[in-house]
Symmetry: C4
Subunit: 184 residues, 4 copies
């Protein structure tokens, strides 16, 4: 299974103001999520953002949140976004079948969302260097990655996904993607 431009949707999970600072490597994680967002916009890949109980853990960080239109932001209470039927409906309406996932925490909301999406029949690519957990939960994170992999998800690095979306050195967007890659 490959992350293809015409079938992918980029899903960014819960990068929120009171959670993000506690996640190991959060600066790089956010930088990579931003790179994926820039590429998605360039290549016209649809995107969604989840926001978990913002009254408790704050809104999605800026300027990331402002990159999304209102209809692209999904507020949730379940850790697994796909446990909300409206969320699954919203993905279904895009017609996209391959969900590329970044965000936090890898072993809680990311994993529960991803396993839920698999249960609904979606292909999932977990961008492993763009999903994070708190420093004390790195074993939980590593096990969650293995578990998502065992559940049929692909694990990939950010650059790997960017080149999958691009597909060809002859693509008109190749130069622009290359400059995103070089800034990783």
């Amino acid at each position: 299974m490959r992350a293809e431009r015409d079938t992918s949707l980029l899903l960014v999970i819960d990068i929120q103001s009171r959670l993000a600072p506690h996640v190991a490597g959060h600066r790089q994680l956010i930088h990579r999520a931003d790179a994926l967002l820039a590429a998605a916009d360039l290549l016209r890949i649809p995107k969604l953002l989840t926001e978990h109980c913002p009254a408790q853990i704050g809104p999605v960080i800026e300027p990331m949140r402002s990159r999304f239109a209102g209809g692209e932001i999904f507020e949730k209470t379940s850790f697994g976004a796909a446990d909300h039927p409206e969320f699954v409906d919203r993905i279904r309406r895009t017609g996209r079948t391959n969900i590329v996932v970044a965000g936090m925490e890898a072993h809680v909301c990311v994993m529960q969302t991803v396993l839920g999406l698999r249960g609904h029949g979606f292909e999932v690519v977990v961008v492993a260097d763009a999903v994070g957990s708190r420093e004390a939960r790195q074993l939980d994170r590593e096990l969650a990655l293995r578990r998502m992999e065992a559940g049929g998800c692909a694990l990939a690095g950010t650059e790997t996904v960017l080149f999958e979306w691009t597909g060809s050195g002859a693509d008109p967007h190749f130069r622009a993607i290359l400059s995103i890659v070089k800034a990783l």
Copy 2:
């Protein structure tokens, strides 16, 4: 496959007085098993405890043993509890299909029990940071984890399981689970 509150049963294997002190990281392992037990009680998830040849390796440690009612304690002689038909019957009578496992030793009684449960058709989540082996057998432990994973079990950290059981930030038990998590 996810550890869900309504389908899970918590199984704690052989944390006994003459074995536990020899297991690497046994204090943390016991602390995590206790956290799982507290959450199971809170969320009304049924639980079982196995005790292997207590005349030889001592009873299950206290106060853990006292948390279980008589009918929740299963004394066994086979390393694999599921090799005793009465044990499988006892699980079957709960109606639970997803067995969440903690205890010791990971590569002996835990692994043999887990592979036996898989053979009987149960789903199994192995709580990887709450199953241990003696210091000299850490390779056996790691291989047993891989083997249980290859056999279709999920591997997960304790916190990961607690948040799967909780499911939602809006759950009435969320605050209580959060304080268990914070004490991990």
Copy 3:
């Protein structure tokens, strides 16, 4: 899949005089193979030994070779013993379906034999701490283990297998196996 006493056959591959000294950790590997042999004899598990081109790399080391009867020693020229039809016949005649494998080199004769056995429909348990490769080929060894695992083999430590074969703390051989385990 479990290594059971009634279905297992112990297969020891190519522990030969001019090869063994070059294999990383060969002393421990030989000690573990000897422990498996002692347990197999105790539990009446049949065993086979392969010897690869002994004119070139010497006979199987002593006293290991003398533990085997003439009909239990198979001389081969193919790296994969199961590429010799007579070898497969010899296993078939034992009625055993679960082949427990130790020996060397992990990434050459062990792997080719094991993949061949899988192709003939046998279950295989690779005793990971009792198969070795030359020091410079530890990556080849690790990849061969992963590949055998991906091919449906179980990987297990020596102690893990000994307790699988024993099955129960009430087994009449339990004490004898325990003293083999303690000497590992």
Copy 4:
């Protein structure tokens, strides 16, 4: 699945003059690819070479490129060679079904080509110590290896493949292969 002499084709991907020097361990990688090429020629295993946008990243390095006849060199613009139907046709015409892959970058052109080949039904052996990525992308490389493995490819070391192709200590080419192995 095994790399057999009669079904294998050796595919070398994009070892080009402006890319190779940036790849971690490129000297050893090239040395191993050369060893595979020498063995392929000796054992009459067909081979193919890809060259990605040579105007941009330079031709395949010499003397490697000169080992290939014109019809064995495939110039491509897609990262995944198998996204070019003529490339798949060219492999199909050889009648070979097991593609043994070396080259660079592991997480871009190698991975996209390999996943494409899998999609077309070929068996693939990825020579893990003969595929590389840039130093800063070692996590992408490791994840790409796992992903190809999860996609049904075998991962193997160079020496492992050489002994699979050879098959037997009695093969007339055994001595010649052994000297290639000794120079690894």
